[in-house]
Every structure is written in structure tokens, then in C-alpha cells.
Symmetry: C7
Subunit: 84 residues, 7 copies
């Protein structure tokens, strides 16, 4: 399974995530909680490192965390905030 990364070709989902390192993302979990921060790294299971993570429920900021490793199987979606 190879992922073509020329500009004409759309990127595979995991390739897009790899190309978005050090961007700001919002990670929605199955529990509805959302974490916003800078995605320092991510692997193929969607385990990811978030820096300066903020924890939100809807628009309520619940907590500020430094560096968290989120286990991929809890992820609902990852939104690329800076990329759009």
C-alpha cells in the first residue's frame, strides 16, 4: 500500500495526518469531549501527541493540559484547524 503524494493526487487519510504535524487540530473523542492543541505527532493507529491541549465540552473550556498522548481507538475525528 503506497500513498502517492504528488500535488495532483489526493492524500490518503493517514498521509494527510502525517503531513499536518505541528499544526493546530481539534480531536473529537467518542465521549463528545474535544481536545484542541498542536499535533506534535501521530501514528497509523491515530495515537497522537497533543501539545498545549485544551479540553472542551461543546464551547466550555474544561481544562488546560501540557502534553498528552491520546490513544487512537478513542478518536472520532481529527479536524485540521490551520489547514483550511
Amino acid at each position: 500500500m503506497s500513498a502517492n503524494s504528488s500535488s495532483q493526487q489526493p492524500k490518503r487519510p493517514l498521509t494527510l495526518l502525517q503531513k499536518s504535524l505541528n499544526q493546530r487540530v481539534a480531536v473529537r473523542l467518542k465521549s463528545e469531549i474535544e481536545y484542541k492543541g498542536v499535533m506534535s505527532n501521530v501514528d497509523s493507529y491515530m495515537n497522537l501527541i497533543l501539545i498545549n491541549a485544551e479540553e472542551y465540552l461543546g464551547s466550555d473550556l474544561l481544562a488546560n493540559y501540557g502534553k498528552v498522548v491520546i490513544r487512537g481507538n478513542n478518536v472520532l475525528f481529527i479536524r485540521l484547524i490551520k489547514d483550511f
Copy 2:
């Protein structure tokens, strides 16, 4: 496992998704939430990239997102809006 793509042969589910890139789709998740947007790419796990994603609960538009990567294991079904 090969997927014959001649016009007489029905397409395998994952092959159909690959042939529907850059079409408008609605992605229903197990949580009943639905995301509509352009499916920029998808892999065999049904991880997918959605562009200009709109988040719906029933007919209520909840939010607009730019580019999201949805983790495949949350997907209930993918509806091809343009294909029909």
C-alpha cells in the same frame, strides 16, 4: 483479492468508495451524527477525509468544519449523494 471494474461486474464496497473520490457524501456515525461533505480520500479501514464538512443531527445543521479526518471504526454507513 481483486476487484473487477468492468461495467458488467458489480463493484466491491471498498472499490466503489475509491471510485467515488471527490464526490459529495453523507457519513452517518454510530452516534447518529451525520457529516456531509466532499470525500477527498478513503482507505480500506474506511478512515476518510471530508472537505467542507457539515455536521448534522437529523436535519439540524450543528456546525461547519473545514477538513476533517474521520476514523473508520465509527462509520455506520457512507451515502453517495452525487452518485445516485
Copy 3:
């Protein structure tokens, strides 16, 4: 793993599904929702393509869809409507 398809031999579950392409089926999901339509294709994970899909909760028709790809892990059972 081979599946004998002579008339005397019972078919394996996945073989029966493959032999039922383009038949009308009802797909019951774990969430109790049921989708009726023509099963255009199905793979070994029970991912399947449904054409002219109708969404039911009990006997209430909730919605009509064109072409949907249902992710196999949500499937409770697939009923062969035409085959009986």
C-alpha cells in the same frame, strides 16, 4: 478455506451472500434500524452496497437513500427477501 457450491452441499454464510448479489435484502443493524434494498455487492467483512435503500425503524419508513455503503461491523443480520 474453500466453499463447495454443488447443489447437495450447504453454502457457507459468506458464500451464500456472494450468491445473493442483486437480490433484495433487509439489513438489520445493532441499533435496531433496518435498511431494505438491493444488495449490489458485499465483502468478507460484510461491508455491503445497498441500492435504493429504505431506512426503517420497525414498520416506520424513516428515509429513502440512493446508494449506501454499510460498514460490516454494524450488521446484526442480513435477511434474503427474494430468496425465500
Copy 4:
């Protein structure tokens, strides 16, 4: 992994199911719903084909189905009605 099928040896669970084809069974799902019918075939994942399936909740008959393919991961247990 081989399963000895001489009369002295107890049968492995999946071997017992294979030897019980065309018998009447009751399939209890995790959702408490039970399906009774003739088990036409079954595979190692416990995907199974049920013929003349009756759907029960406790002792209430909910529906009659022709031929259904039940996805194995939903199965709680399979009771061999004729075998006892």
C-alpha cells in the same frame, strides 16, 4: 489446530457446530433477542445461516423470517435443540 472427532474424544466448540448442520438451534444474541431455526451452515467466526427463522424476545414470537445470515460477533450462545 486439529480437532479429533473419534467418538471417545470430546468435540471442540466449532467442530460441534459443524457436526450440527441442518439441526434446529436457538441463537441468543447479546441484545437478548433469540432466533430459532434450522442452522444451514456456520463458519469459524460463528457467522451462520438460519432457515425458517423465528424471532423471539423471551417467549414472545416477534416475527418470522425466511433465510437470514447472522453476523457471528453478535452471538451470545447457540443452543442445540435437537441434539439433547
Copy 5:
């Protein structure tokens, strides 16, 4: 992965189950329901055959079954009644 079965060595969990065939066991499922009976066989996934199975919720006997095949992924624990 080999399991030493000399008397000094503790048995691996799956080895202990294999050595307990034809003993009376109680199988607690995740749903709190418990099945008591003679464990005729079991495989490495904890799929098991129970003979003369009795279904209990707490101390209430709900039903008597002949021979059931329980799918291993539902098992919480297996208690060895005769072994103690």
C-alpha cells in the same frame, strides 16, 4: 508459547481450562447472567460447550438448556466448581 504441565509449575489459564474438561463450571457472562453445567470442551478463544446448562441471574434459576455453545468473547470468568 509452550505451557509446562509438570506438577511444580503453575498452569497457564488456557491450559488449566483444557485440563478441566468434563468438570462442572459456572460461566459468568458480561451481562451478569451465569451458566452452570459440565464443560465438555473449550478452545483458546474461550468458546466453550456446556452440557446440562442451567441459566441463573444471581440465585434465580431462569432456564434449563441441553447443550449450548457459548461464544468466548462474552465470557467474564469461568469458575471451576469441582476443582476446589
Copy 6:
């Protein structure tokens, strides 16, 4: 994947469990129920054998069991009582 077991090196989680056989442990399950007893053996899936198992909900002793095999996928954590 090798696990260094010299005294300076921290032990891998599964290696620590293997080195704790015949110690008293408390096994918390996802359902909040806790089992205390002597861990006679454990495998890499965290399937484990508990001897003289006591079943607790919070501080309430619910039942005494002889020898139980707990299926690993239900385990939340294993606490080493004697090790501390």
C-alpha cells in the same frame, strides 16, 4: 521484543505480572467489580487464574469463589497487594 530483567531496568508490564505469580492481587474489572485472590498464573492477554477469589463491589464482599479463570479483555487493572 525482549524484556530486560536485570535489577536496574524497569520491568515491562507483562513481565512484572509474570514475576508476581502466587502473590495476592486485586483485579478490577470494567464493570467496577473487583476480585481479590492469589494470582496463580496469567498470560499475555491478561487472562488469569485467581485462587481463593473474593468478589467485591466497593468494600462489600459479595461472594467467595474457589478457582476462577478471568478473561483478560475484561480487566481494567491489576493491583499488586503484596508487592507494595
Copy 7:
């Protein structure tokens, strides 16, 4: 799959965890319960050993434990307290 650990390269999530042994962490589980303690070791499944573990629900300290092995599949995220 190799993980580059030079100072310019961001670390993979599992590599970051390995480099954080003997640091203080907070482990949030899917059940909302949080365990704080020193992460003595962790494996690729996120099974981890926590020393001097404190159990919290929100800001309430529920219990103190000595040494616990947490099964990785229950982990929501691991927060590096000292690293920030």
C-alpha cells in the same frame, strides 16, 4: 516502522511514552476515572505500570494504591505532568 529520535524530529507517540519512564503521569480511563502516579513502564499496547497510584474522579481523591498494571485498551489519554 522506525522512530527517529534525533532532537529535530518529533517523537512518535509510543516513543514519547518510552522516553517518559519514571515521570509522573495522569492516566485518564474511558470511565472518566483518572490515575496519577509514576509510570514505571509501558508497552506498545499502552499497558502500563503505575507506582504510588492515586485514583481520582474529577478532583476527588478516591483511593491510594501501591503498584498497579493498567490494561492499555482502557486508556483514553496519558498526560505527562513533569514533562511540561
